[in-house]
Symmetry: C2
Subunit: 327 residues, 2 copies
C-alpha cells in the first residue's frame, strides 16, 4: 500500500504514464464502468453511434471515486497517519471518505450546512467525520484550514491536484480500450479535473478524436477562461448542475488550453430536458451535471451529424424525491 | 425470414430446444442485456452476490420484445400478409409493434383508453394502428375479435403462446452464459410467460438453481393456483405493478407447477420502496413490475442469506412525471 511519491509534490501536470500508474493503483477499488450504446439518442441527434460512459455506476455514484482513490493510495502510511481532509458538498466528499475507509485512515469532510441530506448521509456511511460550515467559500476555507491545523490531516483538493486529475484520466484509458474510433468525446466541465485527465489520454492515444467540454451557462468560467487564455472567474455561479459550479483550476486551465478542442455552454432548461430524456430512453439515473453533455446536442451547441460519439455521464446522485421536471 | 412452422400450432410447451431456436431467431433484433452486480444490495440483504438481468435496457424497454419477435419471426410471409394483432395496455403492445415494423407488416393494437400517454405514444412510434377500447376485459376481447374479423391479422397472445414463452426463455440462456452458478433466480410473475420460459432453461441446464416467482399481493392468482394445483383467478386484481395483473395462463400454469420452486407475494408499499432503492443505489430506472423481485427480499418473503442471486428486472417503462414515492 502507498508508495514513495509524496502527495504534496504537485509540481507536475499528469502525463499518460501517470494516468497509467493511476489505473494500476486504483483498479482493485473502482468499477470499470460499462459503455452503454443508445440507438434512440443516436437517431434523435443524427449521430452514427451514441455511447455513454456510465460513471453513474461508479463506486459512490460518481467518477470522483477514481481521483480520490488515486490521491489517497499515492500517499504512504506515514503521510496518512493523521488522516485526510476535503471540503465538498457532494461527490468528492463521498469519494475521499470511500478511499480513506479503504486505507483505514480518518477522513475529515467539511460540508456546507445546506448540503443535501442524501449526500450527508452517504458520506457518513463511509465513516467520515463531517464538520458543517456556512454555505460560503470563505466559511468553507476557514473551517477547512482550522481542521487541518487541529488534525494535521492531508488536504485533498477536488480537482486542482495532479493525482486527482490522473485518477479521473483513467476513464480515458477505459474508453479507448473499447476499440471504437470516436469522432467526438463530450465531457462535463466544472473545476476541470475530469476533462483534464481524459483529454490528456485521448490526445496522446487518439489524436484525431475531438474533445469538447460542456458547462452550464450560469457557471461559464471555463469557456470564458478558454477564450481569454487566462482564468476568468464568474461571480455567484448558478445552475441546477450543482457539481459544475466551481471555478476552473489552474492545472485544468493549462491542460484544457492544450488538449481540449472547444467548450460550449447549455442552459438549465435544456439540462433538465436532457436529464429526463436519458432516464426515459436509456433507463439510467444521471444527475444534472452529467446531463449537460446530452443538453449540448439538444440545443445544437454541438453537431452530432454522422459522428461516433461518446459522452461521459459523470454521476448519478440525483435527488429522487424532487425531480426538476415535476413542478 | 420466417420458417415453415405455422404460428397457430400451439399444441406444445416449449422445450430447451425451442428456446435455443428462439435465441437464434431473435438475436439480430434484440439486445443481449447486461447483468449488473450491486454490492450495496447484496450487503443490505446479506447475499453473497446480487445480480440483476437488465431487461429494462431491452428494445422497447422491456423483455416483451423477445417473445413478440419470436412469435412474429416464426410466421412466414404468407401468414403475415394480413398483419398481426395484439391487445395490451403496455409493453406487449410495444413489443408486437416493434416486431411487426421489423418484418414490415401491419400491427393492430387494442389498448384500453385509460392507457398511459407515454405508452400510447411509444406504440405509435413503431407505426402500429391503435384502436382504443373501454378498460374492461369484455370490451378488450370484443374489440380484438372484431378487428381480427375485419383484418384477418394473426393474434399474438401476450403470454399464453408457446412462441412468446420460448422468446422470453432466451433470458435464461443469457443468464447461464454468464458462468455464475446462481443459488436463486427471482422473477416477476403476471401472466407467467416470463417465468415459464426462464425456468424451463434453468431446470434443464442448472437444476440446483432455485427459481422463485414474485407477484403482487393484490393479484395473487399465480400463488393461489400454484398451491391449489389449478388456475384460481382473482377478482379485480389491483397493484401498482400494472404489468402483473393478468391471470396466469394455462401453459404457464403447467410449466410453473413443474419447474418453479415457490411463488411469494409482496404488497405495494414494499414494491414502491424497492423501486426507489434500485433507482438510488443501482442508478437504473425500473418499473414497479420489475421491483417486486427486490421487494421480496425487503419484506423477508425470500431469504438472501449467503446466496448468489439473480433477479430479472423485467422492464423500465416507468412514469417519470409521477413517482409513486412522491406524494
Amino acid at each position: 500500500m502507498g508508495n514513495d511519491v509524496p502527495h504534496h509534490n504537485q509540481n507536475f501536470l499528469p502525463q499518460l504514464e501517470d494516468i497509467r500508474s493511476a489505473a494500476k493503483r486504483i483498479q482493485p477499488h473502482i468499477h470499470q464502468t460499462p459503455l452503454l450504446r443508445c440507438s434512440t439518442l443516436a437517431s434523435m441527434f443524427g449521430a452514427a453511434e451514441f455511447h455513454a460512459k456510465c460513471e453513474n455506476f461508479q463506486k459512490v455514484g460518481a467518477f470522483k471515486a477514481r481521483g480520490a482513490c488515486n490521491a489517497v493510495f499515492s500517499l504512504n502510511d506515514e503521510e496518512l497517519q493523521q488522516g485526510v481532509l476535503a471540503h465538498s458538498s457532494g461527490n468528492h466528499a463521498q469519494g475521499v471518505a470511500y478511499a480513506a475507509r479503504l486505507r483505514k485512515v480518518s477522513a475529515y469532510i467539511v460540508m456546507p450546512e445546506t448540503s443535501s441530506k442524501v449526500k450527508i448521509a452517504a458520506t457518513k456511511t463511509y465513516g467520515a467525520t463531517i464538520t458543517f460550515c456556512k454555505p460560503t467559500l470563505e466559511s468553507r476555507m476557514e473551517t477547512t484550514a482550522s481542521i487541518q491545523k487541529t488534525t494535521g490531516a492531508i488536504f485533498i483538493h477536488p480537482f486542482n491536484d495532479s493525482y486527482v486529475i490522473a485518477g479521473q484520466g483513467t476513464i480515458g484509458l477505459e474508453l479507448l480500450k473499447e476499440g471504437i474510433l470516436f469522432d467526438l468525446v463530450v465531457i462535463p466541465l466544472g473545476g476541470g479535473g475530469l476533462i483534464s485527465g481524459i483529454s490528456t489520454v485521448i490526445k496522446a492515444l487518439s489524436p484525431s478524436t475531438r474533445v469538447i467540454g460542456v458547462e452550464p451557462a450560469g457557471a461559464a468560467d471555463a469557456s470564458l477562461s478558454f477564450r481569454n487564455n487566462k482564468i476568468v472567474p464568474v461571480d455567484s455561479p448558478q445552475s441546477i448542475a450543482d457539481g459544475l459550479l466551481a471555478t476552473i483550476g489552474e492545472k485544468a486551465h493549462c491542460i484544457i488550453n492544450r488538449f481540449v478542442d472547444d467548450i460550449v455552454t447549455v442552459n438549465d432548461e435544456r439540462i433538465i430536458e436532457a436529464m429526463k430524456l436519458v432516464w426515459q430512453h436509456m433507463k439510467i439515473v444521471i444527475e444534472p451535471s452529467a446531463a449537460v453533455t446530452v443538453a449540448a446536442f439538444l440545443c445544437g451547441a454541438i453537431s452530432a451529424r454522422d459522428k461516433k460519439i461518446a459522452v461521459v455521464f459523470s454521476g448519478g446522485n440525483a435527488e429522487l424525491d424532487k425531480l426538476p421536471w415535476v413542478s
